[in-house]
């Protein structure tokens, strides 16, 4: 079977690549585009380590096929900082020690950013339920939730 030729937009850049039918968007990002920030934890959409935004929607890139993203807009962890300026979420995760091993962190940050873009004043429960699709085994989630809520408060102040 011939490979698919796909053109899409990743973090604002136009990209084009070839992929097999069975390759996921995660495979393409990591192995073809050499963007290893999105992580593979389970390949079954249960851990969220591969979270990216697809046309503004939070998805598990392991559940999206590479050949499905033609003409679409993808945002990954690599596009979260603006040049040398970290996104407020990234900054506060560091300040609150909201990461230990860091493997879940890209997925958690992408998911948290998606939340704050929808809801600038989430309650603790809303944050926890929104992030329920992002497994973390190190932190127990406490400092992650604190960092997200603290960022929301700071961003509301402007």
């Amino acid at each position: 079977m011939a490979k698919h030729h796909i053109q899409a937009q990743v973090n604002g850049d136009e990209v084009e690549f070839l992929c097999e039918t069975e390759e996921t968007l995660l495979d393409v990002l990591r192995d073809t585009l050499n963007m290893t920030g999105s992580k593979e934890g389970c390949s079954s959409g249960d851990c969220g380590a591969c979270s990216v935004m697809l046309d503004g929607r939070l998805v598990c890139s392991c559940l999206v096929l590479g050949c499905e993203v033609g003409g679409r807009r993808i945002e990954t962890i690599e596009g979260m900082a603006q040049g040398e300026k970290l996104h407020p979420l990234q900054q506060r995760f560091l300040e609150h020690a909201a990461l230990q091993c860091g493997i879940c962190t890209p997925g958690v940050l992408v998911a948290s950013k998606a939340l704050l873009e929808r809801n600038s004043n989430p309650t603790e429960t809303e944050v926890r339920y929104w992030l329920a699709g992002n497994l973390c085994r190190c932190t127990g989630y406490d400092k992650i939730v604190t960092a997200v809520m603290d960022t929301a408060a700071a961003m509301r102040k402007g």
Partner: protein
């Protein structure tokens, strides 16, 4: 009091919440974990695994796989030399090389579903998958056994015909599945129980659980024609990986260089080798680099979950609440090869308490499930779950407050532990008091809500450590440590170096060096990396300070007693101060070449003096009687850190371990079918806590200095997983009136128990 001064001045970095130096790369996705490395020309490796839990491997025909275009190497048991029996430390447990070589690649038998039987290296993952399907393995399927108690029965399927129980007199003449029997005793158990007014005896059962690290095992290996090899892998101990691989592949240790990638969780499960020897063997054959990454299913089926166990506990107390006698019998699964953590389980069981008469016996039992690997305080959560449950029953029956009862019997400095030595200064009482003082302890509870408390501890270890500190030409400091950083180590070590040398925190750049850069480092585990690493840094800093003082003496034509290092500089004392000005580290750095050469120090130690860390956990939960689901409402951890080098990362260990304990208590378990195959090898059905399952985890940092460490540090990483199982079981009893003696207390089991008592209505 914990040591808060260095060089006579208050520490300015240690004890503060600095931003970790490796943090920016982690929040931007730049940090390179095991699967993030690639080499030009690399092949993709894949393992063929046994579908049977127990089978003789009659033959393996790899010819069709080898003929497939794109396949560059195929390996089987034939590619690994057999290893003689020799025990080696594997983290906090012992492994035998004869077993290691068989676990890495099955030899005579496949001993668990998922056991590696062959491996291929091919030009793509797709070709590698196809190649594995072309390998023809003839199995003679054998009956299997998984449960430890069942495996101990005469007539149970036998895994190894050369396994004779050690620790039984006389030595058995027939092999069995019991590798070892161990005992500890003190006093006279019979006499002890005579003195008891109340005796409680219970049997408990736990299921195997997995460490649950989100990053699967990954390794990339390349072997050159002259026998030198390089490995990048996700590991808790790259020097251990080097040692195992050198041994298994027959290479000189000095010819193998291992680089530890960033590690996405380990918790003890990455202290052993699985893929590394396979990737090396494939690379040696294919003459190209080989990259191997486990799938999540492989992680569950082929790495090392902890033991499932059966534990019987009997305790006797006077009516005033004094524990007079305690015995326990532990039967732990070891998996396919011997080496469960039953020994630490035996030693930890009653250790938090001062009991005159103790007898604990433990059995290490093999069975057809993956070989056990360490999981955070290996063995202790299981035995202490059982003991803390019985302690709770005693408290209830004697109508004594559960914290007061523990306080009355608590081990203190000078108490003789049941496993022998007397404790030095310890913080169990302080943690009990800390919990009692919280607002949590007195908060009101409603119907179907319950509160539970439990204590626990872990010994902690020291071990061989080598850290180098180098002063660069501009006065910045390069710190190279050799224990992979699994949760904030670099921040803690850089803080110690900053305070020791009197340089700003952001002028210290810590990295984890490869095995070629440092002397031997034992792995990250045993709650040792901050404890030992900081000790080694103090040594390295001492060398630098002595060197700089010596250089100053030469430059100022002074005697040693006329100079001293303080507050980041070598200072002239007394009259010398009139003709010499203090020189900072940066000042010396500028003239290093002219005054003798590069400035640096290496701390090379076998760190001793690790102090145990005690903890007490308090939990409130609510049970939904219609579904059996338990929701954690509130959780407090009080634990003794000795001295918290970085409070946020110490809190992080408390919180993370507590949540792993919550998962273990309420939902996680390996579910095997009657066919011996794992039914829930994925995160959907192996249900770990998610963010919506848990509340904030409140922490209380207790600091009872460890007198054997220059700063008073105690390791903290493992203790947090020890109390939760008992605390949550006690809270469940408090909420439902039912004592659950089987873990996990998952909704179907809770609902069934409620129904049996007619309680399943709101």
């Amino acid at each position: 009091m914990a040591e808060t001064t260095t060089n006579g001045h208050a520490q300015s970095v240690v004890g503060t919440r600095t931003v970790r130096p490796d943090g920016v790369d982690k929040v931007t996705g730049r940090a390179r974990f095991g699967a993030d490395f690639n080499l030009p020309g690399q092949l993709i490796g894949r393992v063929l695994r046994s579908p049977h839990p127990h089978a003789r491997i009659v033959s393996i025909d790899t010819s069709k796989a080898e003929a497939l275009p794109g396949v560059k190497a195929v390996i089987t048991r034939a590619d690994f030399a057999d290893q003689p029996s020799e025990f080696i430390p594997a983290g906090e447990m012992m492994m035998n090389y004869k077993d290691v070589v068989r676990n890495v690649m099955a030899r005579e038998k496949a001993l668990y579903e998922g056991h590696a039987v062959a491996a291929v290296a091919a030009t793509s993952a797709a070709v590698a998958r196809r190649a594995c399907k072309l390998i023809d393995v003839q199995y003679e399927v054998l009956p299997h056994v998984i449960d430890a108690v069942e495996a101990m029965q005469p007539g149970a399927p036998l895994l190894h015909d050369d396994l004779f129980t050690v620790g039984v007199e006389p030595r058995p003449d027939k092999p069995s599945n019991v590798a070892k029997k161990i005992e500890i005793k003190q006093g006279d158990i019979e006499a002890g129980f005579q003195k008891a007014d109340l005796v409680i005896e219970r049997e408990f059962k736990t299921a195997p659980v997995h460490q649950g690290y989100i990053e699967p095992h990954a390794a990339l290996a390349t072997v050159s024609e002259d026998g030198t090899a390089e490995v990048w892998c996700s590991t808790q101990g790259h020097f251990i990986v080097r040692a195992h691989c050198a041994r298994l592949l027959g290479l000189d240790i000095g010819k193998v260089r291992v680089t530890a990638s960033e590690i996405g969780g380990g918790f003890g499960g990455k202290t052993v080798v699985y893929l590394e020897p396979l990737a090396l063997a494939l690379s040696k054959k294919a003459k190209r680099p080989v990259k191997m990454v486990m799938s999540r299913e492989e992680v569950f089926k082929a790495s090392g979950p902890t033991s499932g166990a059966t534990v019987r506990v009997k305790m006797g107390a006077t009516k005033d609440g004094k524990f007079v006698a305690a015995t326990a019998e532990l039967k732990y699964q070891a998996g396919a090869f011997q080496g469960s953590p039953v020994q630490p389980g035996v030693m930890c069981a009653f250790a938090p308490y001062d009991i005159e008469h103790v007898y604990v016996v433990g059995y290490d039992v093999v069975s057809n499930r993956p070989k056990v690997a360490a999981y955070r305080a290996p063995g202790a959560p299981i035995s202490e779950y059982a003991v803390e449950s019985v302690v709770d029953e005693i408290a209830k029956k004697l109508d004594i407050d559960p914290i007061d009862l523990r306080m009355q019997n608590a081990a203190r400095e000078g108490t003789k532990a049941a496993y022998g030595p007397k404790f030095g200064p310890i913080g169990l009482e302080e943690t009990l008091n800390a919990v009692k003082k919280t607002e949590h302890w007195n908060a009101p509870l409603r119907k179907w809500q319950g509160r539970g408390v439990a204590s626990g501890f872990w010994f902690n270890i020291g071990g061989e450590t080598c850290v180098s500190l180098t002063v660069n030409e501009d006065g910045t400091v390069s710190l190279v440590a050799g224990t992979p950083d699994i949760g904030g180590l670099r921040a803690s070590l850089a803080a110690v170096a900053a305070d020791e040398l009197g340089v700003p925190f952001d002028k210290v750049r810590p990295i984890i060096g490869d095995t070629g850069s440092l002397g031997f480092n034992f792995l990250t585990g045993g709650s040792r990396s901050a404890f030992s690493g900081s000790m080694a840094i103090v040594e390295a800093a001492k060398q630098i300070k002595a060197d700089l003082c010596a250089r100053a003496c030469k430059m100022w034509e002074a005697k040693p007693e006329q100079v001293e290092f303080s507050d980041g500089a070598v200072r002239p004392l007394g009259a010398l101060a009139e003709k010499a000005k203090p020189m900072t580290i940066a000042d010396f750095a500028r003239v290093a070449g002219k005054t003798g050469g590069p400035i640096g120090g290496v701390g090379r130690i076998n760190a001793q003096g690790a102090g145990p860390s005690f903890g007490t956990h308090l939990v409130d939960l609510e049970v939904d009687p219609e579904t059996g689901r338990a929701t954690i409402l509130r959780y407090t951890v009080a634990q003794d850190a000795g001295r918290a080098l970085h409070p946020a990362y110490v809190e992080g260990q408390y919180q993370g371990g507590a949540v792993q304990g919550i998962g273990w208590a309420l939902n996680e378990e390996y579910i095997y079918g009657a066919d011996g195959k794992l039914q829930n090898a994925g995160f959907l059905d192996y249900r770990m806590p998610v963010a919506s399952d848990v509340p904030m985890i409140d922490t209380v940092l207790v600091e009872v200095a460890n007198p054997k460490h220059p700063y008073g540090v105690r390791g903290v990483g493992e203790t947090p997983i020890v109390p939760p199982l008992g605390a949550i079981a006690n809270a469940m009893e408090n909420a439902t009136g039912i004592r659950f003696t089987e873990l996990p207390m998952s909704p179907p089991k809770v609902l069934k128990a409620l129904k049996e008592k007619g309680l399943n209505k709101a």
